[in-house]
Symmetry: C2
């Protein structure tokens, strides 16, 4: 089977986005804020978005199951406050849960966290536990920059993150390191902030001993790892120079998805990064929704690029498409096995 | 001949770095600040650094001439104030000039600017004109983030930059878009901030009509373009979607160097980016100074990677090694011709 490790519920109805806008607008005026009921999405609305959107594209492109999480841009932890972040995370996660209950063969749930600038990452642990323990979520998206592109918080390797990492290890769920929207005009969201975050957090980890403290922590760096695989030699050199350890030592704990929207990029990724560390992902329907005029194919139909990597064996592809995801997300594996998959 | 478009004078004596530290320390206490004379570097000191450093490596690696500019990290425009930036730029540029006068066959000068947070880019024009018109500099490094990694200034495409771009067009000198040190603990300088800046500015330009306003402006995006060539499909898709124009339309004005420290990266770069837009660069002696234990070669000996790109013809290599640099830096071409090269 083909598992897409990177999908967001971007096909929510407009009313759901409107709720978020109002919630933020009235963040400091709870008496006039919209209520949770105003965020309600009907089953029909879910069907309309999913069946004309992600499910349709799954079928057209030949993937089977998507790890599905709330819209990354809309996590917007920099907006509102800790209370609104908690409400929004809870509403968004519950909605994703409903999708995955309605289409259990096609989607498995990944949660967002109620992060907020200045709030301790530890404060996100209860929502993580609720999602994983009560609702069966299999992974979590962790935002390394709650400031929306100003990066005035602490690095991802700071000890303030440790309670969250402890919970992730305890629950055995991996984290995708995924920022939200950028409010910094220097950084376009999907064209710069996302890739910068991937690159920056990888480098923060390279400089740290994070995995000595958390040997079982697993992190997925999305968007093909930002600039990292393209600059793998730079990082190999820096790791040897700065930390006196081979960069490859990070690969027990770090994984990259294939959200790179052309064949040469995916080819480099799969050439440079060991096959065990590459997880198929497309992030459809996301940053790039159009078709390549040269080929007529969707830019984000990344399966085409993986299939075209001549150097990959069938075993390699089996790992990238399925086995690595099952290994990195053990709760996904259990969920699939429970369904006979 | 082989022209390395990206070199910094990193082998300055310690006293020169010490001057800068003191200059910044006493930025607001000019009475006790060190004097320009304290920054003096002797000819012997220049010889010692260059002949045991960049010149030696040029000869060992088989390149001929390096576009040479002040140390990027030490530009540190976020430190001190506009007055100290001007003093430091002037001292640093004068020192680079001396190197290029002592070794005119091996180095050609590229200047830094006296940028400072909050200071208008227009204020940098006089130093640019001094370097180009009086000292024969052939290019300029422009820092798109004077805040040292906090990015609280305006995007590179904002009209506040226009007077500088007008001067660059008037003087016919290209700019390398190159940040300085990072003071943001989230961004390692050479491991994150540099690459993020390359990516971010490219995306800013993609979102803009900069080259409609400056059809002859030429910008070199260093470090292989950050994440850009690796994500070329993402940018192709975004350019079509957001701007309704092919990304390739930027390639009359944007160029990438080959500072990518492994062969698969350089192979991707030369496969994805047209040969006319790739300039040989190594940034030695810079971010990664060690040798790859697998091959015994220096990570930043990028000529090895270019030579190993089987898909490149001899004509392609001639362009990447020499002709593109002469075309993008017409004052370099003139300088070389004047020397019979």
């Amino acid at each position: 089977m083909i598992i897409d490790c990177h999908g967001h519920y971007t096909t929510v109805p407009k009313s759901f986005r409107d709720f978020r806008a109002k919630q933020v607008e009235f963040a400091n005026d709870p008496a006039n804020a919209p209520t949770v009921a105003d965020a309600h999405v009907s089953d029909d609305q879910i069907r309309e978005g999913i069946e004309n959107g992600q499910l349709k594209l799954q079928q057209e492109r030949g993937s089977d199951l998507t790890l599905f999480s709330p819209i990354a841009g809309l996590m917007s932890h920099h907006l509102g406050n800790e209370r609104t972040s908690l409400e929004w995370a809870s509403i968004s996660n519950d909605l994703v849960y409903r999708v995955t209950e309605m289409y259990p063969d096609n989607f498995a749930p990944v949660c967002m966290l109620p992060q907020s600038p200045g709030a301790a990452p530890a404060n996100s642990v209860p929502e993580l536990r609720r999602c994983v323990e009560e609702l069966g979520f299999v992974g979590v998206n962790v935002n390394p920059d709650t400031t929306g592109g100003y990066w005035t918080g602490k690095p991802f390797t700071d000890r303030e993150w440790y309670p969250l990492f402890e919970a992730m290890c305890d629950l055995d769920v991996p984290g995708m390191v995924h920022v939200a929207a950028s409010c910094n005009p220097n950084f376009h969201g999907t064209g710069a902030h996302y890739l910068n975050a991937d690159t920056s957090v990888f480098m923060q980890i390279l400089q740290s001993n994070l995995f000595a403290d958390f040997p079982t922590l697993r992190l997925v760096i999305p968007h093909g790892g930002g600039a990292v695989p393209y600059h793998w030699g730079r990082y190999r050199g820096m790791s040897l120079e700065m930390m006196d350890r081979p960069l490859e030592g990070l690969l027990d704990n770090i994984f990259f998805d294939t959200c790179v929207y052309h064949h040469p990029g995916v080819e480099l990724l799969t050439k440079v990064i060991p096959t065990d560390n590459v997880l198929f992902g497309s992030e459809m329907i996301g940053a790039v929704r159009g078709r390549d005029p040269n080929t007529g194919e969707y830019f984000d139909d990344t399966k085409i690029y993986v299939d075209a990597c001549a150097a990959l064996s069938d075993d390699d592809r089996l790992k990238i498409y399925e086995l690595n995801a099952r290994r990195v997300y053990p709760r996904l594996d259990k969920r699939l096995r429970a369904r006979g998959l």
